[in-house]
């Protein structure tokens, strides 16, 4: 966000994209750039996650936008996503404001028909020094605040004639105010209803809403997550139905609206009982190896944001907390400050390399500076695994694949003055076990960098695979304990390896006490 703000101040259009929890991190500059405004157009794309497909909460970014007094556009399909982004830049420059384009997981993970147009080259704007506008010290900010209020009112008024705020009059017995993906559900479920489709959901075009409300018999407000539109509309004395019959949780659907608003009773097939298939760590995942050692040592782990959150569930069950990026280290530090050095000796913090580079570094500095003690495991798989293998500052490549010097995590920790920095191969379980025993006993800050690349990084065919010698297998099940999906028990109780899944990491071989599992060359 701050990089985009810099580009904007220098006169160039810029866009920063993030999910809802990213907006929390970007909130600090966002609230103030709302006062500063823009030189080149400035757009923030924020994706909310109704239904929590892969998030730690279900917050509504529109609430942040309202608090920061920043306009929000909300597209309802792929074509609008493109058009609204263009419009966002124009509005940004016209009204001297950052603009948020809000999407949701459903829209972001959808594809539809989009008509492309010729690329337009927008000339850079001149930069002129204007500290009254760009240095937000109290005296200057005080003078900018009235502009922010004026801008909100002006946009609310002008918004009444924006083409993206569109009243579609059909049968007026039912009128629905909606925006984004829920608009599509309304069109499917209530094809005859009148609809006020809001393309700009902050600030709200009050006069347009009042007019629409006056022309329909029963007014419904259909918005996923929080009643942001609803509460404002009701505060103007307009009668409407919203969260009384609709939920603040999860995704909506046309079926939901058919029943709640259309009054239909749907005769649906009953869902069959099916065992859940939760996400799992991949075959060959280095986190499985690391967690199997933590489990053996009966250590608790303060967790962080990444695939390794899956260490919280059976069969590994070692991760105890997941809050936000960086919180593994800081919360471990808090536990030690609250409960003492002895208490922390059966705890560790676990954080991935990319999350460590994101906000783990400052947590660790805080821990060192405030004389904390405790063991921090940096699970270095040389990538950002969960979100699809993005590079980061410690991988030696930019997001565009350009080769750059990698920040050395070990040296970075040493530079903070941490004396005990150890580097261990994630699949060397014996070494990892002895290192963890030593470091957790120590009353100091220790960092253990547990290294092994993400199992999905190497795209070449597997070279070796595990093979079970049935004559030696004692059916003890020790190899199955770390929960590798490539291993199952056969009908005779002996371990069977699924050769379409096994990637030859060798963890099961290490856990077999009878030498029944060996790695065999499978290259053809």
């Amino acid at each position: 966000m701050e990089v985009a703000i810099g580009a904007s101040i220098s006169g160039v259009r810029a866009l920063a994209s993030m999910k809802h929890v990213g907006v929390n991190v970007a909130a600090d500059p966002l609230y103030t750039v709302s006062y500063i405004g823009v030189n080149g157009g400035l757009v923030l794309v924020a994706a909310d996650d109704p239904g929590l497909y892969s998030s730690q909460n279900e917050q509504d970014s529109r609430a942040v936008a309202r608090a920061a007094k920043v306009p929000v556009l909300e597209p309802a399909d792929s074509a609008e996503a493109k058009e609204f982004t263009k419009l966002a830049f124009e509005l940004s420059e016209t009204y001297d404001t950052p603009v948020i384009v809000r999407t949701t997981t459903r829209l972001s993970h959808s594809q539809g028909m989009v008509e492309l147009c010729e690329r337009q080259e927008i000339p850079d704007k001149e930069y002129e020094r204007n500290v009254a506008k760009t240095v937000m010290m109290p005296g200057n900010a005080k003078k900018r605040h009235p502009y922010v209020e004026y801008r909100e009112n002006k946009m609310a008024e002008d918004g009444c004639s924006f083409a993206i705020n569109r009243a579609e009059y059909r049968d007026t017995a039912i009128g629905v105010i909606t925006s984004g993906i829920p608009y599509q559900y309304v069109r499917e479920a209530l094809p005859h209803a009148s609809v006020l489709k809001l393309g700009m959901v902050n600030p709200l075009p009050r006069k347009l809403i009042e007019e629409f409300a006056s022309r329909v018999e029963t007014l419904y407000i259909v918005e996923e997550l929080d009643p942001i539109i609803e509460e404002q509309v009701k505060s103007w004395g307009i009668k409407a139905v919203g969260k009384e019959i609709l939920t603040v949780q999860g995704e909506y659907s046309a079926n939901m609206l058919r029943e709640a608003i259309g009054g239909e009773t749907l005769e649906l097939r009953a869902a069959k009982e099916a065992v859940a298939r939760p996400p799992i760590l991949c075959p060959g995942c280095p986190h499985r190896s690391t967690f199997s050692v933590l489990k053996k040592l009966k250590l608790h782990a303060a967790g962080d944001i990444g695939c390794y959150t899956l260490g919280a569930v059976a069969p590994l069950s070692v991760v105890d907390t997941t809050i936000c990026m960086g919180a593994s280290i800081s919360s471990l530090h808090g536990m030690e400050k609250a409960r003492g050095k002895e208490y922390i000796k059966n705890w560790v913090a676990v954080i991935g390399d990319s999350t460590f580079m994101h906000t783990g570094v400052n947590s660790l500095m805080n821990m060192v500076y405030n004389q904390g003690t405790g063991t921090v495991l940096i699970l270095d798989n040389s990538t950002t695994g969960m979100t699809g293998h993005q590079d980061h500052a410690a991988t030696g490549k930019t997001l565009k694949g350009q080769i750059v010097p990698a920040i050395d995590i070990e040296k970075l920790c040493l530079a903070m003055g941490i004396e005990n920095v150890r580097v261990v191969n994630a699949f060397d379980t014996k070494k990892l076990e002895s290192v963890l025993k030593e470091e957790t006993a120590r009353e100091a800050v220790s960092v253990v960098i547990v290294k092994a690349p993400c199992a999905l990084l190497d795209k070449t065919p597997v070279k070796v695979q595990a093979k079970v010698n049935p004559d030696l297998c004692k059916k003890c099940g020790l190899c199955l304990k770390p929960g590798c999906p490539a291993l199952t028990r056969g009908a005779d109780g002996k371990t069977v390896v699924n050769d379409t899944m096994c990637n030859g990491c060798g963890l099961c071989e290490q856990y077999c006490n009878f030498g029944a599992i060996s790695l065999v060359d499978v290259r053809r």
Binding site: R106, A274, A276, P278
Partner: protein, 190 residues
């Protein structure tokens, strides 16, 4: 009339390629089309569902319960999980493969018996052991094209249209084997 297709399976089974083929077909035929695919937090191993809707004009990108014309399932348990999305006269095409979910692997739950027989009591079901067929063809990875070949018989495109899209969607080196896989499926259950 909008046609609703669902592709379900286990993360890593190639549902994405299949949905790209279906999307490409709809565009080629001049339909409006929307695709929606949401996966959970991990890269692999979880339950994955993809929706493809095409027709004159498509509003929502998801297929809702009771609306699927064709449910393509790359794994038995996943067919069971999503069977209630099927329309009254909808069709399930299921790859007769078992992949144990973690609760089954660790012994906390049992993999359901007789899934296909169970589904057949209330739905039209076409099953195929696509893995075995694909291995016979020489590449187990093309199993999903075999499943798709069966599903193709319940959609409104000609075989030529399918072949054309397969050619432009799959990696160049694998065009022939993918077409051969599709051909096997297209010849089954008709």
């Amino acid at each position: 009339m909008t046609k609703n297709i669902m592709i379900v399976g286990v993360g890593g089974q190639g549902t994405l390629l299949t949905s790209r083929i279906l999307g490409g077909l709809a565009i080629q035929a001049g339909y409006d089309v929307k695709l929606s695919e949401v996966h959970g937090m991990a890269q692999r191993g979880g339950s994955v569902v993809t929706f493809v809707r095409y027709g004159e004009e498509v509003a929502e990108p998801i297929v809702e319960e009771g609306q699927a014309d064709v449910l393509i399932a790359f794994e038995r348990l996943e067919a069971l999980r999503y069977a209630h999305f099927l329309k009254k006269d909808g069709v399930i095409v299921v790859n007769d493969q078992r992949i144990d979910p973690m609760p089954v692997v660790i012994g906390a739950a049992e993999y359901p018996e007789n899934i296909i027989e169970n589904l057949k009591q209330t739905c039209r079901v076409y099953e195929v052991d696509a893995m075995a067929e694909a291995k016979r063809l020489g590449n187990s990875r093309v199993f999903n094209l075999i499943v798709l070949g069966i599903a193709a018989q319940h959609m409104d495109y000609s075989k030529d249209e399918w072949m054309k899209v397969i050619e432009t969607t799959v990696p160049k080196k694998t065009i022939e084997i993918n077409k051969a896989a599709f051909e096997i499926g297209y010849g089954l259950h008709n």
